[in-house]
Amino acid sequence: MNLYTPHPVRVAEVIDETVDTRTLRLEFKDPAFAESFDFKAGQFGEYSVFGAGECTFCIASPPTRRGYIECSFKKVGKVTNAMRELEVGDTMGFRGPYGNHFPLDRMEGDNLLFIAGGIGLAPVRCVIWNALDLRDKFRDVTIVYGARSVGDLVYRRELEEWAGRDDVKLWQTVDPGGETPDWKGEVGFVPSVVEKAEPKAENTYAIICGPPIMIKFTLPVLIKLGFTKDRIFTTLENRMKCGLGKCGRCNIGPVYVCKDGPVFTAAQLEDLPPEF
């Protein structure tokens, strides 16, 4: 079989996150492959529904939880519509893992600041659980998560779990107007909540993912707090087909998101041409 051949996976669980966002838990059908499968936080794969085609998503579950992978997606096109139709027991395809990863090894012994907006929590959630599963290796863990409205918050059960842990500081926020009467979190945009949370920059790595506009306005806040650009990590998405550096569409100037990324530092982003 050639390198474009996917591994069959079984839908083991379907979790509705929001009205239009869903998480699938997938188990490899081949037990030997399931045993050998390994990846690092931040890597992605090509998920496919046979008949609809392939689509690129990060692996949203952490590598520390073996035996399955998860992907979270919003219903926007042909493949995600087909994924929406899948039920427990159905078969999909997966090939990967591809791309680079968050350098968690390098972050050991330091504080972690996670910032995410909307479904941008998916790749960040992978790193959060990876770090929490190895909790002794890291110092303070702070999470700032925002969505347009309460109904748009994803991973609700996990947000509750993080809120209840005393070794995690969680800030949740929704955009003004997006709150419900019983909303206990912040109301405001992510950059201002980061400002309010006032994480210390010393010995801290920031991991951020969300809509471009959120990242654009959060970076200056982090810089003001004293973060250096080489300690701020983000993950980019671009339309991809092969995931292997061949099909020619995900590049930003000389940088291939599928091979050189998807994880980049803010310093690296600054060097890229403005085409993402």
């Binding site: 996917p6 926007v76 291939y256 041409p273």
Partner: protein, 362 residues
């Protein structure tokens, strides 16, 4: 030339092709395109050497489709009771001899090899590469759209060829044969009875010189200068107008020997089986980079054309040390909007020179 040389007469050329076909090999060669008002040629699999037109026009499409077909099945799937069976579609690639490749088409093959083996090895591409021997024929130099000298090639470049044929320039025809690679040597040895002791007909050198003279003056662009300028000028007013004539049709990419971008799509056949296919794609189409969210990093045709120029003359050279262009000129000939790559390279060259003399671009 320090390579092994031979001589191949016109009649032995035909006999060689017949023998190759008889041995079960697929022979791909330029043949006259039928039913055309003007003489045209295409690379096709042939069953009769009489059909081969080695001294005709440049084939309309490059050799690319014999290594990266315009559409190919990557796998077949069958769904049954919640499970899936995946079938390899084509693991056997036909033993092929290309006879009469244009040097600009042969040169593209080792260039595209680089991206196809960039830590992940593209088996379908290399399956076909390894099953193929390329016999090139020195080009006479075609027309004003040719610009192979700009990218460091020439009408008689041997890059990508296993065996090179140089027309004798004699009335009786025949070729001076140069063996370029081991694979070429093996082919010549296996069919040695058709090849005669080397002799260099006087016409060979004359034809090579004439061919070079025919295309040398077409462009004075310097890709190294252009690349330095491209590296610094992602944003420049030139990019705001350059693609005004571009329709975004992608004809340039289809005929290009080096354009290799592809799409992967599923074609269902009924409800529970189908084929996953790889199809040629083009960076000139808006949907190429369109995100699910509706965001498009390359929103305008100008941005998409800039990508084409950058990929060929800056990005690929930076990643792989090769220019992703062999100067064949097909993009110029095929463009319905009159986009002219060598002309654009000239303009980029002028900008590069003037920015250098102005003390460099900030």
């Amino acid at each position: 030339m320090s390579n092994e040389q031979k001589y191949l007469s016109e009649s032995e050329f035909d006999a060689l092709v017949r023998e190759l076909i008889a041995s079960g090999k697929r022979v791909v060669a330029p043949v006259a395109a039928e039913d055309d008002l003007e003489p045209q040629a295409d690379y096709r699999a042939v069953s009769d050497p009489a059909k081969i037109v080695l001294d005709g026009p440049l084939p309309r499409r490059s050799l690319k489709e014999f290594f990266l077909p315009a559409t190919e099945a990557l796998l077949r799937w069958r769904l049954k009771k919640g499970d899936v069976a995946l079938d390899e579609t084509e693991a056997d690639y036909p033993e092929t001899v290309v006879v009469g490749a244009s040097p600009c088409d042969a040169a593209a093959l080792p260039t595209v090899d680089r991206v196809m083996d960039w830590d992940y090895r593209d088996e379908p591409w290399f399956g076909r590469r390894e099953a193929t021997v390329v016999i090139s024929r020195a080009c006479p130099g075609r027309d004003s759209s040719c610009f192979c000298p700009v990218v460091g090639l020439a009408p008689d470049s041997t890059r990508g060829a296993d065996v090179m044929l140089y027309p004798s320039g004699e009335d009786a025809g025949g070729y001076l044969v140069e063996v370029i690679t081991e694979r070429g040597a093996a082919l010549v040895a296996a069919h040695s009875k058709h090849f005669q002791a080397p002799r260099e007909p006087a016409g060979v050198a004359r034809l090579r010189e004439e061919a070079r003279a025919r295309v040398d003056g077409n462009s004075s662009a310097r890709p190294d200068e252009i690349r330095r300028w491209l590296d610094k000028n992602f944003e420049h007013e030139l990019w705001d107008r350059l693609a005004e004539r571009c329709h975004g049709c992608g004809a340039c990419a289809a005929v290009c020997p080096t354009c290799h971008c592809f799409d992967i799509v599923d074609e269902p056949e009924g409800g529970d089986s189908g084929t996953r296919r790889r199809n040629w794609d083009t960076c000139q189409a808006a949907v190429f980079t369109l995100h699910g969210s509706g965001h498009n990093p390359r929103e305008t045709q100008n941005a998409r054309f800039r990508q084409r120029v950058l990929h060929k003359f800056a990005i690929y050279p930076e990643r792989f040390g090769e220019i992703l262009c062999t100067g064949c000129g097909r993009c110029v000939r095929a463009c319905p909007g009159g986009m002219d790559l060598p002309e654009i390279l000239e303009e980029l060259g002028r900008l590069a020179t003037s920015s250098q003399s102005a003390g460099g671009t900030p």
